[in-house]
């Protein structure tokens, strides 16, 4: 219930921000709604935006469930896409597998630093985001730049996801990933161990669970999901890489997962809500000249309202 209240509160606050521009909140709300679900075109846009959000949301949900602070979705998303375009000539499947592997490896750098050097993953994953962004900048200005080298972008990827009108097969893949994550977490022994580790690592250790192993696994799967998001966005939507490719999807995944209370199936609804918010914000920029940055603002408001309503408090 409080999730819905938080979502509504965010939308209301966003609309009220119209007053700062001397416009009517009702008008703004109207643009936000018609721009995200008001037409077939808008609905497709919302669904397309929900796909990467669902996957990065799952990535965050799984990591947080295991008690690992993976704030590195943005970087894993980027290296996933870089690997995907590099492997695209071997076909869609190979390309997506490469994306997942790259994401998992990138996240595992942070795990290795945590296990060997005790470096907190909350910082190393964030720092790896910045490194991935500059790696991408180098790729699209250097080795992967398009033929003719006119713009800082790559050529169109050699393969693409099959699509029906605007919607690509990644929609199904993301839904499947969500089911698979749910199954892993709630229907397998490994999932139970993973959740136990996140709930109380000390108790899990006493119960004979290899906590470090759970950490390694959670981080790798989490990275793979974010990497897959990057691969699907590349092969289904942009078909090219460019400097601003990631567009904050990694960080948005945190808001998506928190609104879903870290539940893989609820993440679907949460991703669609934020997908609508991002799409509506894009329409605000086009038709009302209001910066689409309001989407990040909206995500922050959702998290803060959730806290006010009693989520994410330390229980003591």
């Amino acid at each position: 219930m409080r999730q819905i209240a938080a979502a509504v509160a965010a939308v209301v606050l966003l609309s009220l921000s119209a007053l700062a521009f001397g416009r009517s909140p009702i008008e703004l709300l109207n643009i936000l709604i018609t721009g995200s679900i008001g037409s077939r075109f808008a609905l497709e846009g919302t669904l397309l935006k929900s796909v990467p959000l669902l996957l990065t949301g799952l990535s965050v949900a799984l990591a947080f469930r295991a008690g690992v602070w993976n704030i590195g979705g943005e970087g894993q998303f980027i290296v996933g896409a870089i690997a995907a375009i590099a492997a695209a000539r071997f076909g869609v499947i190979a390309s997506l597998v490469a994306a997942m592997l790259a994401g998992a490896l990138w996240a595992s750098i942070a795990t290795a630093m945590r296990l060997w050097r005790n470096a907190p993953e909350v910082l190393t994953t964030i720092l790896l985001n910045f490194i991935a962004i500059h790696l991408l900048g180098w790729c699209v200005n250097g080795p992967l730049q398009e033929r003719g080298a006119q713009y800082p972008q790559t050529d169109v990827a050699a393969s693409a996801l099959p699509q029906v009108s605007e919607l690509h097969a990644g929609v199904l893949l993301a839904l499947l990933a969500s089911l698979a994550t749910w199954f892993l977490l709630y229907r397998t022994m490994e999932g139970l161990r993973l959740r136990a580790t996140g709930f109380n690592a000390r108790a899990a250790k006493w119960a004979g669970i290899d906590v470090n192993r759970q950490l390694v696994r959670a981080m790798a799967i989490s990275g793979a999901l974010a990497g897959l998001a990057g691969g699907i966005e590349l092969l289904g939507v942009t078909h090219r890489l460019f400097e601003r490719f990631a567009a904050g999807y990694g960080y948005s995944g945190i808001a998506v997962a928190l609104l879903a209370q870290l539940h893989p199936l609820a993440t679907i609804a949460s991703a669609i809500f934020f997908g609508a918010l991002v799409t509506g914000a894009g329409e605000l920029q086009r038709s009302a000249g209001i910066s689409s940055n309001v989407a990040a603002f909206g995500q922050a408001v959702v998290i803060l309202v959730l806290i006010l309503f009693g989520s994410w408090r330390t229980r003591d």
């Binding site: 005790n118 500059h134 309001v294 909206g298 408001v301 803060l304 408090r313 330390t314």
Partner: protein, 278 residues
Amino acid sequence: MIDVILHALPIAIVASTPLLLAVEGELVVQRAGIINLGIEGMMLTAAMTAVLAQQSMHSVFAGFIGGILGALLIALIFSVFAIRYRADQIVTGTAINLLALGLTGFVYQANGSLFAVSSMREVAQYAVVLIAWLVVPAILAIMLWMTRFGLRLRASGENPEAVQHVRAYRWSALAIEAVLVGIGGAYLSLALSSGFAENMTAGRGFIALSIVIFGRWKVRGAIIGTALFGVAAGLQYTLQAMSIGLPFHLLLAVPYVVTLLILCGFAGRVRAPESLGR
């Protein structure tokens, strides 16, 4: 090699001044038991409010006050959620960063004139550098280790049960951090660049958190860590000038790689304040 470093040091010290102020601020809050991941958003907000204040009052001093007020506003939001409502500090910090990124981007796109402040007089610039590298460390060292206030502030981070009014000490720590980060943010937009640009802090807040750990939560460690980082990160310009063929975009990643190495090389077995993050 020594020559190269000696050459790089003055530039590194000036360029890392905002970072050092952030490190000092984060050191104080972490000593009081709080991890403020929202320091990135705090600095970004300060960088913007500083420019806004300077443009409306036509005074650099007003700009710095504006930066401090902006940072205090963010500290207030953070503390309401993380202290008053006992929310998870990492979750709150992440929300603060998104909030600041959204709000500053919003204001920036609404009036594009924010990248056009006249640059500060050199005397004023060096005054801030001096304050950050000498005055603040001295004050912090005395405050944290030689006063009753400092003892209780540190106890709030080690063993909060032993302290009356833990919240008051944590609130004060956040206020101190906000003042320092506010000055840092203002220095960034008014002195190091000629105005505000979107996401201009570029991870300085996170780098500051890493240096606090590297410096073992000590003032001396904070200064040495920041200077080391400044010189190492400054090497990107030296390498660029020597043009040994490393691509420009990869050189941009140097500061973050250096920070990772700092975290890995020296985090090792460190003892954080006992109740950090709780």
